[in-house]
Symmetry: C2
Subunit: 762 residues, 2 copies
Amino acid sequence: MAWTITETSQIDAKASDRLGNKFLTGNGYMGYRGTLEEYTKEQRTATIVSGLYDKAGDLWREPVNMPNGGYIQVVYQGKPLHAQTSPLERHSQSLDIRHAVHERSTTFLAEDGNAITVTSKRFTSAAAQHLFCMQFTIEASRECDLVVHLGIDGDVWDLNGPHLAGFKTSVEAPVISLTARTQEKGVLVAVCECAAWAGGETAYIQSEKNIFRELKLAVTPAHPQTITKYVSLYTGIDAPDPLPAARDLCRAAAQTGFEQLLEKHCACWEQRWQGCDIQIGGDEDAQLALRFSMYHLLSIAPAHSDRVSIPARGLSGQVYKGGIFWDTEIFMLPFFSHEFPEIARNLLMYRFHTLDGARRKAREYGFRGAYYAWESQDTGDDACTLFNVVDVFTHRPMRTYFRDKQVHISADIVYAFWSYYAITGDDTIFLDGGAEVIYECARFLLSDLYYSREHDRYEILDVTGPDEYHERVHNNAYTNWMVAHTFDVCLRLSEYLQGRYPTRAGALIEKLDFQQDLRAIQEIAGHLYQPAPDPLTTVIPQFDGYFKLEDVSLKELLQRRLDPYEYLGGGSGLATTTQIIKQADVILALYLFNQKYAREVVAANWEYYEPRTEQGSSLSACSYAMIAAQIGKIDWAYKFFMATATIDLTGDSKQFVGTLYIGGTHPAANGGAWMAAVFGMCGLSWSDHILTIEPHLPAHWTEVTVPIRLQGQCLRITVSHDKVTVQAAGALPSEFLVRVNHQIHPIPPGGTLAVSLVKQEH
Amino acid sequence: MAWTITETSQIDAKASDRLGNKFLTGNGYMGYRGTLEEYTKEQRTATIVSGLYDKAGDLWREPVNMPNGGYIQVVYQGKPLHAQTSPLERHSQSLDIRHAVHERSTTFLAEDGNAITVTSKRFTSAAAQHLFCMQFTIEASRECDLVVHLGIDGDVWDLNGPHLAGFKTSVEAPVISLTARTQEKGVLVAVCECAAWAGGETAYIQSEKNIFRELKLAVTPAHPQTITKYVSLYTGIDAPDPLPAARDLCRAAAQTGFEQLLEKHCACWEQRWQGCDIQIGGDEDAQLALRFSMYHLLSIAPAHSDRVSIPARGLSGQVYKGGIFWDTEIFMLPFFSHEFPEIARNLLMYRFHTLDGARRKAREYGFRGAYYAWESQDTGDDACTLFNVVDVFTHRPMRTYFRDKQVHISADIVYAFWSYYAITGDDTIFLDGGAEVIYECARFLLSDLYYSREHDRYEILDVTGPDEYHERVHNNAYTNWMVAHTFDVCLRLSEYLQGRYPTRAGALIEKLDFQQDLRAIQEIAGHLYQPAPDPLTTVIPQFDGYFKLEDVSLKELLQRRLDPYEYLGGGSGLATTTQIIKQADVILALYLFNQKYAREVVAANWEYYEPRTEQGSSLSACSYAMIAAQIGKIDWAYKFFMATATIDLTGDSKQFVGTLYIGGTHPAANGGAWMAAVFGMCGLSWSDHILTIEPHLPAHWTEVTVPIRLQGQCLRITVSHDKVTVQAAGALPSEFLVRVNHQIHPIPPGGTLAVSLVKQEH
């Protein structure tokens, strides 16, 4: 079964960056990069805690990389054994994605011919969020003495650091600890480590940012040595007194023991997979890639808190300032809403908790309502800078319009709230803050509209759409459609709440002083310009004047580059004056509004935009996959599905924009893989209480089984080339219907619906 | 008296470029660069004919440089005598700006010790536009034989050429001729030359693009040789058959003779100066600089035609594609309206004749009405390219928004028509096309408005104002004020015409189907947002968000440059994200609307914007001069006056933008010099039939005398530190009043008004 990822190749610096992302383990609270135990900041070790940010001086505000409690360095004959620099006999690193357990095994070949093998097994506990555990074994082909340093390494990798200062170490046997404070807000962080081994001499080495134990171990071929490490992390955000909390947890973990902790951890993961594992028959590669994508989403999803969300690079480092982008709402939320609604709810509630930051941003730009941050952190204030890319030619920061002009972010969030509700049926989210978010977003977008007397319509001017290579455009189709949808949601929601919860609905409208804006939205909604297919070609212009831009081929455009890393957008980017786009824009809109146009129109747009799309964003491939499936281009759908599903498996993604490092994991692409499989290949869509299933399976896929949750129900859907089966776990509401082959069927209560896809002769 | 400009310095390539501009002679039909007779395309000789443009292949469309009929090369002992490369004993080049006569005198020191002096005297006839005449004398310190080549050199300097093909030469003694056709439209051009000399051997040398005579002349110290040349030019635009026309003119000129032609030419210039010469007492430098500025304007003004206008670089070459910019209407027209109204009328009528081009441009961008070309040529279609500057770092054409976004051009033209009318009282211009231009410009600007419900006002979005370093801004104060003025003019004009010429007024409105737009303008005019002084600082924001830009000093900004020629605007220019502006923008608006705000507000704006202005355009200094004078900063006014008045005298202007050559003459700055002297120092302004005179003379100026024409009247105004005198040539209408020292006075009919400026004790 396709559950394990293994790498055995030699590790250089580039590979260790890649593997650090690929082999990441996490539990939503923390992410621990898939680096090796002897690695330090040079190899980009990182322990990222969700929701903890810091700003050092005038540098970019970003996540804090916590002191590394997983550090172990074996020293043989005075030489540290290091996978990157020591001669190796064998090396392998693997990840069991079913249980989220990372293992490594490396045989070092010493100068004296002794073969020393270190193996480790570690996990970031799914059962105890603040805990990270490891078993580390040292074997030798000949009897020898070794020195081992292990402990907490506070001298960490930073992009815009250092973020920690005032380090303090302490030993309260068997626990050692390191505390420090963040620079900006002085948040106390504590990392504790408790180690167990067969015994022997021990000493403590303490320096400014480190505390290590020094063990002297004797190893014989018959008697390997095993060290078990328990590492705990707390911050001042989690606990009033992080150090005692961490120390207590560490001690308790050591008492419980590695095996039992591992068992609990594995049980959690088993349960997760039970709820969401998709089985693809006939394609081991696709199976593994899809599971790997879901593994990453599950590793970083904040099941524990509704005050944090998932950053664009997950918990893999500090890239993109640890910012939460629209990635979460548009590309990750569908997975969570359909598989783990309680996590989806947390993600959405994060937006409610950061609403005041969005209000501040709206005011900053002269608007009302809520203009959400392009890069949101703990407060909801925008971490996105006005100069977000560095020019490769002049090495100057380049003015970009991500922060100012991507107004669609607020509409994306409204779309996400409404989809969550449509999928889960959970209307309590509106009363718990969702309605306030939606009204404030609608208000913001209302305040950004202009009326053209010339065309007797409202327009949305000077925005940047999903395709960031074309900044400051007018009437971006995606944006205009999304804003129209926002107004529609706003009006439907206010009507719904008035009907269902009249008192609270009225109180909210009053509290927000929203009555007048609501009336304005009612008036205006129908007059908002909706860019439509060109009458001749049926292609939808991405924005005003798009078709007038130079129609150069992507290949030729790329040949015009003078530097492989030059940014194609911005003020003078090569793409800006052409029809070459960075990522799905109209095509994404056609997925989000998948009933807006006939299949022929959708196909014409896919055919037009696909060759003009650089696929320069990891958000792009899934849309092209889903629409390709919908229009019957199964080969293309498969190609784009694999592109999005393997992005962190291969590590072949863009590592630089201009001179900016953007490496890390790609949770939006991971979510896109799930969408491409479920919405694309299996052809599931949910609307108006009808689950439509229009499979578009690749020829070599024999069967796909998808468990999903809809309206609180668990369904198990199996799709093959000739049959669709829907199995309900419990009783379904009578209005719940399934459409297959354009025919609508009810599901027998607690039973199974099976529909043949083979065309019947009449 | 300050009437002659002389240069005696050694000539290198850079100097010859500068002197080519400085010593230009012209007559409105043609401009002949102030190069020397032996110069060829390497030294940028040029004969630019007004209104003749050509496009070679995919290159920029630009003026045609005509074959050079002024060519003379003296060869001594097999070596051509060339001022740049031969040893010189003496050299001087001078221009009598009173009569527009260019002279040169160069003594070449031959290897054998013989000193050969060539002198020439030449003029571009003001009396016969197609004629250029020259007297060329050769002296020698020792008896010798010389060879002289003279004739027509068709191998010309081009920026985006070659523009001429199919050269044909002919000899029809005593006339030689060269004809060719332009590449794009096949316009035939003909240059003829007739030479007279003492006689002797002669031969003709003809090659592909040249026809020369070869003379062998004997010169003794006592007997110099003089060659008289008559050169005539015609194009297919001027004459159905250019060659015979040119040949006839050439022959006739030779019969008339040099002296008589010169006399007529000088008489024309004497008459011109009589009408417009300003006398500045106490400042020879200022006197010369101002006259020099007026000389250049008079040399290139199309007195002969209302189908052409004045390009931004006059007739000095092909820079800026020979395009007519807003320079003409805003910076040159005041001079002509007040001194030569018939030329002002020609300049304005050019806009009527190119109205269809402006209509095409409006349609191209989805507007209605007339959107005038940013760079207008013969058809009114826009010669401005979308990529108008080349990036110094990548050598790529840079997307600029001159063409798309400087909508103020149409408002500038309306402003000019209305000012012309206000100054001259000539309302026939409206019936002859001006009303159509004004209505169509108003219609265009109407179709570009957006209504903000949020602010209950109409706004003008996504424009570039005069300060081109900040492209695509919203609500540029200059633009919004000018558009409001356009609407005001449109409404006042339609009312005026309805009252005065009801039938023709009605017919025009009907022809243009303008009734509905006129009503819309009536409705909207009062609701157009007019950026106003900040309540705290009284500084007017140049555009929305201007004050939020980085407030860096100009010095620091310039220090950030990595290349001295890097363009500060465009997509990634250093100035774009700062408050540093290229040129007067708000300050220009404050001059154009000089009664809009109190002096304190005007002063606050000058103080704010002056240090933030690069003065990177030759259009800028005059506004800063005029406003400085108005607010009593006389030293600054003088500094800026001298900057604008000496630009072509010193030649110290920008020669490159990015990698683009922009050298040439600066007629807008020349016009600005006149404005700075008359409107600034002398403090003249004309409004509502009151001539206000508020002198702000520099301390060392004893007296300034300005002849101007107002409402068909000739006035002679003398301003000193203690007195203002206004002398009228004829009877003035009774409503014509003069305001001095806040007191209003009538002018005695045919008499003189004298008002003391010395404050009287009461």
